[in-house]
């Protein structure tokens, strides 16, 4: 096979361009005003209060900060929150992708209803979610399942409120996937599992990652849905958010701010990591 086949010999193809990263600004007066407004808004609502928390946490100095965090009850609450949020996020990655798959790829009676109901845990006031969980899995459970005052209750509440995140981020991407791409893989010899693993999953990865980030962050901050069922037993089922409330009720603002700053850092770290991951994947695709 030699080079008879030159469709565009006459028109030399452009040499591979270096990977470009445009760093030019497109700001003019109008968009400058817009950016200014956005920044002020964001600062007032997010940046300044966050800084205030960090300042508050550091006021007592490093020793006081460390003392607050190394308190066994606090350390247990933070540990439980992070571990539960990680486990729940891992479950959501699998189940959320599965549910999105079923919603997009399968047609069955009641699909539209399910489609709407998926958002319910997200739309429900969290204390209502707590009440729902308590009446179903509490001491008077009609199912005979009582997980009240256990760590399972914490996980259950996390799962309940974070269910929609991965589903909702994966679903639109799945809808946009061209069936032809999977057919092409099949015609090249790939079985269904290989097609999913090597073709579908890499396309979904960024969406799964951003769903996971939201799910994890929501888990870290959860309060309302679990206070009723978990009982918030110190050293056992107490989560970080409840611990913060405890500190505030005990008039220990430094302690509360210290726990808050840890949650903040962990959330930031996870969001940045997942963002880096999805950039790494999409970077290859665009």
């Amino acid at each position: 096979m030699s080079g008879v086949l030159a469709p565009d010999r006459s028109r030399p193809e452009p040499a591979p361009a270096p990977r470009r990263r445009p760093r030019r600004t497109t700001l003019d007066r109008r968009s400058g005003t817009g950016l200014g407004l956005a920044l002020i808004w964001f600062s007032l609502l997010v940046l300044i209060p966050l800084t205030a928390v960090l300042v508050k946490a550091s006021e007592g100095g490093w020793t006081a900060y460390w003392a607050a965090l190394s308190d066994p009850q606090t350390a247990a609450a933070i540990g439980l929150t992070i571990v539960a949020a990680l486990v729940v996020t891992a479950i959501n990655v699998v189940m959320g992708t599965l549910i999105a798959w079923v919603l997009v790829r399968d047609d069955f009676p009641g699909r539209r209803v399910l489609e709407v109901v998926i958002d319910l845990p997200f739309a429900l006031p969290t204390i209502v979610a707590g009440l729902v969980l308590l009446s179903l899995y509490g001491p008077h459970s009609p199912l005979g399942i009582n997980v009240a005052n256990t760590r399972i209750a914490v996980g259950l509440a996390f799962l309940f409120v974070t269910l929609p995140f991965v589903v909702r981020t994966v679903q639109p991407v799945l809808l946009e996937l061209e069936p032809e791409v999977e057919e092409a893989a099949a015609s090249l010899g790939a079985g269904p599992v290989t097609v999913f693993r090597r073709i579908v999953l890499p396309s979904l990865a960024p969406a799964i990652a951003s769903g996971a980030a939201m799910s994890f962050a929501r888990g870290l901050s959860e309060f309302g849905s679990l206070v009723l069922l978990s009982g918030s037993l110190p050293l056992h089922t107490e989560v970080a958010a409840v611990r913060i409330l405890g500190y505030i009720e005990g008039d220990n603002l430094h302690g509360a701010a210290a726990v808050a700053s840890v949650l903040l850092l962990v959330a930031l770290a996870v969001i940045v990591l997942l963002d880096l991951f999805s950039r790494k994947v999409t970077h290859r695709a665009d």
Partner: protein, 344 residues
């Protein structure tokens, strides 16, 4: 014989996509499945590939029954209209995909990928991603990917349909030459008769789920089996109760005494480049006839400004009876190009 299709039918709900298709596609040939959109040609191609299953009938590839065999085990290369590129993989990884599925040694894969990229002139793009390629380059990548696995047959579904006119012409020419080199049995689907006539050795004209005619481009053009074949493969006009090519009609300003000559009034005289188109209202005809001739012929016959003319069919004109069902419009050239985005 490479691909043998026996009594294949396919329905989508109430819609009959294919009804009782029998077709043999010869080994090593370049065959076009041609027809209007929604006529069933893409469905037939997908049934050959195993991407769609026939309701009834059988498909055999190289003498082996493939009817129940899934696509991934058919050793068929398939090229899609919209490239179906694996966007997260580089060009080289795309081409290597089928080979890595087949668990070939790394070195063998690298060599084959190199060879394929050279074949489609994408060597310097090996490490790019599909999004960084033009449409024509992506389609060449898709072709390299399909050919890398040394398929028994290569199937292309409207492969140039998404490309602009210039690139489409280049790739057509290129596909023809590629086939001269690779000699793999190739079937491609198109709704563009010009593309089919230009590229394919054999044409299969499919309309409304049935095969209208099979043959070489000369056979289909010179001996159309039906009025549909005739009107699909070029402009036609009505003359008496037959369909005839507008350039197969002779025209004069005075009676010439030829058999079958009919007098009429000029409705429109139109010059398009080298060609002159004259619409004539013939005595006793339901629709006006279209006569085309070159500008020089028109000048020699003194037709410019003529009002009364006499029209006859030339001696070796291809003529097909007008179908009873529908009157054929004077100029049906435009109706050949049906909406390519229609249903399969």
């Amino acid at each position: 014989m490479s691909i043998e299709i026996r009594s294949v039918s396919k329905h989508f709900g109430d819609f009959t996509a294919l009804s009782d298709i029998d077709l043999t596609i010869p080994t090593g040939d370049l065959t076009a499945l041609l027809g209007p959109s929604g006529g069933g040609k893409s469905t037939l191609l997908r049934i050959i590939a195993g991407l769609e299953s026939a309701d009834t009938g059988t498909v055999a590839i190289e003498g082996v029954d493939a009817t129940g065999v899934p696509a991934r085990k058919r050793d068929v290369g398939f090229v899609f209209q919209h490239y179906a590129a694996f966007r997260h993989l580089t060009v080289a990884e795309n081409v290597a995909f089928g080979l890595s599925i087949r668990k070939q040694p790394r070195k063998v894969i690298a060599e084959r990928v190199e060879e394929m990229l050279e074949l489609v002139h994408l060597q310097q793009f090996a490490d790019r991603h599909p999004a960084q390629l033009s449409g024509g380059q992506r389609q060449r990548m898709a072709l390299a990917r399909a050919l890398a696995i040394r398929p028994r047959v290569l199937l292309l579904d409207e492969p140039f349909g998404a490309l602009d006119a210039k690139v489409r012409k280049e790739l057509r020419e290129w596909l023809r030459r590629l086939h001269d080199e690779v000699h793999v049995t190739t079937v491609f689907v198109t709704h563009d008769q010009e593309e089919a006539l230009e590229v394919a050795h054999h044409l299969v004209l499919i309309n409304q789920g049935r095969i209208e005619q099979v043959g070489t481009s000369d056979q289909l053009y010179d001996e159309p089996a039906t009025s549909f074949v005739m009107s699909f493969l070029g402009p036609v006009t009505t003359f008496g109760n037959t369909l005839v090519r507008p350039h197969d009609l002779g025209i004069a300003t005075a009676p010439t005494g030829r058999p079958g000559e009919v007098g009429g009034r000029v409705l429109r005289y139109n010059r398009v480049g080298f060609e002159v188109q004259i619409e004539v209202d013939l005595a006793g005809a339901a629709a006006p006839a279209l006569v085309t001739l070159t500008r020089r012929e028109a000048a020699e016959a003194g037709l410019a400004g003529a009002e009364q003319v006499w029209v006859h069919a030339v001696a070796d004109a291809v003529r097909v009876p007008v179908p009873h069902a529908e009157p054929v419009p004077a100029v049906s050239a435009g109706s050949r190009e049906l909406d390519p985005s229609g249903v399969r």
